[in-house]
């Protein structure tokens, strides 16, 4: 096995094949999982049925145990393009609600993480006292505080956008802080010495050497952070009957047994996640070009 990464073109065929196999398995599983209900219904109304009727029925149920992929895509299409953008039936509306708190939380978390990292790099007290706690706190299931933050901030009169963004911020700032500390420390001794020979102030050292050196680390952390920020926003929409957002859509789907609705919300959330990570990657390339990296 060679260690170099296969090119994009080399991957397309295999990816398509694996995806096709997954979809075929999905259709088969839909028949298998939905069959008991369908057979019960057929037998109940005394309808004679064969394999063909069974398969047709399992792929077109209203509340299937496992909806077939085309049902999910159809529901997704209908709720994205078939509904008014501001109506609660529109998935775009829900995605927008989730997206806004994801981005707000991501921005806050990024700022907080960078600030803490700068503090840690410049203060020995923060380095030896605070950093171990930041690292240890990555082993903590922070997401568990989500319902409490939403309810407590909600009872203080803050809009849901803020409380969801606070959760996302909590989740974001750990990877960013840890990555940025690594990045700000990445300049070599030689480079730091050179800055000293130019009698650069600590602020100049930070702006001209440490921050540019930390940019690749920042983006590596940002990719992780924006994905967790999305998870934070969705989980923040779960408690106390939130009315809008992909998380609320998941929850209402699970209350009313609307499996197709859950799956299409999941599809939307996945698309959103992939798009957000891709957007961070695009910004990274732009910044790299702006900073003069070889394209």
């Amino acid at each position: 096995m060679r260690t170099e990464k296969p090119s994009w073109a080399q991957s397309v065929g295999p990816v398509a094949l694996v995806a096709a196999v997954l979809i075929v398995v999905w259709y088969a599983a839909a028949v298998w999982l939905n069959a008991p209900q369908v057979i019960e219904r057929f037998d109940g109304i005394g309808n004679p049925w064969g394999a063909r009727e069974l398969v047709d029925a399992t792929w077109s149920m209203e509340r299937p145990v496992l909806p077939a992929p085309h049902q999910i895509v159809a529901d997704w299409w209908a709720s994205v393009f078939g509904a008014d953008l501001d109506s609660p039936r529109s998935l775009v509306y829900h995605a927008g609600v989730t997206l806004s708190s994801t981005i707000l939380g991501f921005a806050l978390g990024l700022a907080l993480g960078v600030l803490i990292a700068i503090g840690v790099v410049h203060s020995r007290v923060l380095d030896r006292g605070l950093l171990p706690w930041i690292i240890a706190s990555q082993t903590i299931p922070i997401l568990a505080i989500a319902p409490m933050v939403v309810v407590v901030l909600g009872s203080l009169g803050y809009p849901p956008l803020v409380s969801k963004a606070v959760i996302s911020m909590y989740l974001c700032f750990f990877p960013v802080a840890v990555g940025m500390v690594k990045g700000l420390r990445s300049p070599e001794v030689l480079q730091l010495d050179l800055m000293r020979t130019w009698s650069a102030t600590p602020a100049q050292r930070l702006v001209k050497l440490r921050l540019p050196a930390a940019v690749p680390f920042l983006f590596a952390s940002a990719r992780i952070a924006i994905a967790t920020s999305l998870i934070g926003a969705i989980v923040g929409e779960l408690p106390t009957g939130a009315q809008a957002g992909l998380g609320a859509r998941l929850l209402s789907g699970s209350y009313f047994g609307q499996t197709i609705q859950i799956w299409s919300a999941l599809l939307m959330a996945s698309l959103l996640g992939v798009l957000l990570v891709a957007a961070v990657g695009a910004v990274e390339r732009l910044v790299a070009r702006w900073m003069g990296a070889a394209a």
Partner: protein, 313 residues
């Protein structure tokens, strides 16, 4: 003990005495007027002294001495939390004082223990299933290049997807008990294990691989004697990431429906009743469990990959 260390020890003692005095002043009705101002000025001085002591402690090195600075920092944060909440009469609903959380933990210990057991069962079951499956599929994908080329981009994409949203589906399929939570944890932990194991198996030095070839070693022998051992650090990395992920996903899955116990259930139920101190107690328990879980894996890692560069300082 030299004079410098004696000074630091004395400063720590002074810190403790002032801290105790301040806390007893702000309890009850709290100080009024000029006394209140004095208390807050004293607290500001206390923070300055703390910073000085931490600066001293931060210079200490060594296995035990190096832990002093983070330990004092953590204690000081707890103390400032306590004194801020007690002193400013922060509503219990907003933020309970640490001592209230401790009392809640003690008072509700029976219920919380049952919650913990319920969640732990689903976490461990899902963790083992997800990590095992991820490892197995990685071995398969390593053997068949086509599978690897097809699977790796998809698995990488899974990192951007909020998989935990699958929870309501799993609750519908597997019911309210631990099985549905284990299923969510298994799915969430599968992908990091797959991606990391594949990266680990690919990390082998070309020189080492050539050496195995000169020995005439086949795929299996190379895998067992060279590539799996050198993939171990990557596998343990996934095991550590997954320990947190499994706990989080089990707790979130419990928000979607669970029997009348489980840490996630306790959190969502007590939040609805505004018993925030019990919620914090449940979170503290989850945090402790997460750290212990992580620590255990780190210990096993140390025992199994003692040869790795990161442990041979």
């Amino acid at each position: 003990m030299n004079r410098r260390n004696a000074m630091t020890a004395l400063a720590v003692l002074v810190l403790a005495v002032i801290a105790d005095a301040l806390l007893s002043r702000v309890q009850g009705d709290g100080p009024k007027g000029a006394e209140a101002a004095a208390v807050w000025w004293l607290l500001a001085g206390w923070v300055l002294l703390l910073w000085f002591v931490l600066g001293r402690l931060a210079q200490l090195r060594g296995r035990v001495l190096g832990l002093l600075a983070p330990a004092l920092f953590g204690l000081a944060m707890l103390y400032l939390w306590e004194i801020a909440v007690v002193g400013w009469d922060v509503p219990r609903v907003l933020l309970p004082a640490p001592h209230a959380v401790g009392e809640a933990l003690a008072a509700r210990w029976g219920a919380l223990r049952a919650d913990f057991r319920q969640t732990a069962v689903s976490v461990v079951a899902g963790y083992c299933a997800g990590c095992g499956a991820g490892f197995g599929v990685a071995l398969l994908a390593d053997r068949y290049r086509l599978l690897q080329r097809g699977l790796l981009p998809l698995a990488g994409m899974a990192g951007a997807v909020p998989i935990v949203g699958i929870a309501p589906i799993m609750v519908m399929w597997f019911g309210f008990d631990w099985q549905s939570k284990a299923a969510v944890a298994a799915i969430v932990t599968f992908f990091p294990m797959l991606v990391n194991t594949l990266a680990g198996l690919a990390s082998v030095d070309a020189m080492h691989r050539d050496l195995m070839r000169t020995y005439g070693a086949g795929h299996l022998a190379t895998l067992l004697k060279l590539r799996l051992p050198s993939a171990l650090p990557f596998v343990f990395n996934a095991l550590k990431i997954n320990s947190t992920l499994a706990l989080i996903s089990a707790i979130v899955a419990e928000f979607f429906g669970s029997p009348i116990y489980g840490l996630g259930f306790r959190i969502s139920a007590e939040v609805a009743r505004m018993n925030v101190d019990v919620v914090w107690a449940a979170i503290a328990l989850a945090a402790l469990a997460g750290s212990v879980f992580y620590g255990l894996i780190a210990l096993v890692e140390r025992a199994m990959t003692f040869w790795h560069a990161s442990y041979r300082s």
